[in-house]
Symmetry: C2
Subunit: 381 residues, 2 copies
């Protein structure tokens, strides 16, 4: 990321402030929550002309459900950076994440702004500082990149409240490729559909989600090649978010193949990966495939009792084992082997073959653990 | 319940077997899960003619995803009771709850059947034995009754996997009133809509849910008066299920008033009460109203930023306190007081006034706790 943009950030306790200077065409995808943070509203307004010069982001406070004052504070954050860059306030995007319903501590933001701005640079260290500045309950900063003759690099934060159609998730993706804003928008929507919208941590969608894609325009590249790279970067980031779900110990992938349609395959996979009962079973290394069947059954997609179901386990990206659990609708009694594979794995994949059509889809999530409860019952205390 | 029917049951470890002898007109409401247990399929077939003479139920095994063999086993269970009652197998209903994907232990069922049947009686003790025989992770048996010149009494089991549109929940309601099966069906659907379908424990819906209503036909009563009593019994049972959600320490009620429509009010309330983030916040006695707002925002109902939100706490049915959290969209900073009320309460109600129309609705659920994770990560182990 540091090859593409200058950035910096600081984190003091729960509060963080980050800045990216990134002149280029821009596209964004935003939360579908009916209560949008004013920070989201302001950014949607500001990127309408398809161009930005910088991003300012804060963590610790979502600036959500903060009304007129929240809107003015989001504008003020943009203003701070716009003045430095000698540009219009509308060329700045703003993003926030954290607690809902409390006004931003503008005094803290303004008093730290100078220092963060002064430290802007295109080094790896500064990229890390930015990544850390937007973290909330994340356990690690999240980067991904793709390189051919053109570059794509991104950073994101996630952890809790992640769900299809976006959730307290901020992702910023940068490229040196050249595209019009309208082209970027179309490709970003496509990439988000197959990446960020396939992950689920706790089923909640946030007031603040945002994915921005900024293209500096230095490099010609075909749309097909760019889209391939963009999807790869977005999926990489999305998987990191799922793996870092609050309190998670295992990444869960659910793959549905041969459903009636691609849409049904994705919908079914999402229902399974979002099931609290499936998530707790994975935490307990319990190959309780009845819960997978039950959640698929209420997903409202067309199902087939003659399905096949298998479990694959991975550790550090390497396959640990593969166990058939159900063939043609009949349980094979392989739970003992499956349990051992689960114990050794940090990623569990369930592959469900519905034998109904050609639709394939997938979803990512994580297990539901004691730490999820701990983190979320203590959050504001 | 024992005034209305003869029953009995036994529980040995995870396995339970219960019998009710109840001649009368019958109506049922069943799971919407696409993978229905053969026990559900058989009962749906058997009550088509609107009449039954008995119910046989087992716990420990859901007889779900068990195919042709599962169907035959369910039929066999009915046959056992039909032979004793000297009636057709189609006059018996069957219900199952427990683990999915394993064939019923018919040897256990058949070997215990005689003893349970021989012990049938209309005493309180036998009603309790039946209630306990259908329990799985339930912590207490669940009864409710309503009496005027006519009687309605019911028993249910619930705990995990409870969600609107039914979930591993079995409820059996009996009355001495006289109604045709078609009238019973209509009233039962109405009562279920405002009771069992307003509760959510973990968002999963099961393969096995069933509510049966059996009317002995000894007593004339108007539909209005009967429906009032039926709703009361069903809501009472539903609330017991919500309160007994796996690992729950607090009952949560979410009331949405003045929404655009009644349907939107119920939908919004359900989204809030189902949110893992709201559920964990209640467990932590954290009046984190931002999470309530966020979950309402993704419920897809029409919302209004100028809403009012208050919290009410109850202990043993008595009000502990009432705290305004948000007025006209502005947080009032009353979290400290609210936290104290939450700590003293075993039931928390959030009342959200949307100020948009005349639609009122509610939903019941429970908090999400360490014990939920423990119970569900260890279930089959």
């Amino acid at each position: 990321m540091h090859e593409l943009v200058k950035c910096n950030g600081i984190k003091e306790g729960k509060n963080g402030l980050g800045i990216v200077v990134c002149e280029g065409n821009v596209a964004g995808v935003f939360t579908q929550n009916r209560f949008k943070s004013p920070s989201v509203v302001v950014t949607e307004e500001h990127i309408k002309n398809g161009f930005i010069e910088g991003i300012i982001a804060n963590s610790g406070n979502a600036n959500a459900f903060t009304g007129r004052q929240g809107y003015e504070n989001a504008k003020r954050m943009c203003q701070l950076l716009a003045e430095k860059l000698k540009t219009d306030v509308e060329n700045i995007a703003v993003a926030s994440t954290g607690v809902i319903g409390i006004q931003l501590d503008m005094e803290w933001i303004e008093s730290r702004f100078e220092k963060v701005y002064a430290g802007l640079d295109n080094t790896e260290e500064k990229a890390m500082a930015f990544a850390k500045s937007i973290m909330t309950t994340d356990r690690f900063p999240k980067f991904a990149k793709y390189e051919e003759e053109f570059k794509i690099a991104g950073v994101c934060k996630g952890a809790g409240m992640i769900h299809p159609n976006m959730a307290t998730m901020l992702a910023f993706v940068f490229t040196d490729a050249r595209f019009e804003a309208v082209e970027l928008k179309e490709m970003l929507k496509n990439a988000v559909k197959y990446s960020f919208n396939t992950i689920s941590v706790d089923g909640d969608t946030s007031t603040n989600d945002m994915v921005l894609l900024v293209a500096k325009g230095e490099c010609e590249v075909s749309r097909d090649r760019f889209l391939k790279g963009l999807k790869e970067v977005c999926l990489n980031l999305a998987k990191q978010i799922a793996r870092d779900g609050e309190g998670a110990t295992k990444l869960i992938k659910v793959t549905v193949i041969n459903a009636k349609s691609e849409e049904e395959a994705f919908k079914g996979a999402r229902a399974v990966v979002s099931s609290n009962l499936v998530k707790t079973a994975v935490f307990g290394c319990d190959p309780n495939w009845g819960r997978i069947i039950a959640s698929l059954g209420y997903s409202e997609i067309e199902v087939n009792e003659e399905l096949d179901l298998k479990l694959l386990g991975y550790k550090d990206g390497c396959k640990v084992g593969e166990v058939e659990l159900v063939r043609n609708g009949v349980g094979l009694g392989n739970e003992g082997v499956a349990r051992e594979v689960m114990k050794e794995s940090d990623e569990i994949e369930f592959v469900i073959d519905l034998k109904l059509g050609n639709g394939n889809g997938y979803a990512y999530g994580c297990d539901l653990t004691y730490d999820y409860v701990r983190i979320n019952s203590e959050y504001t205390t």
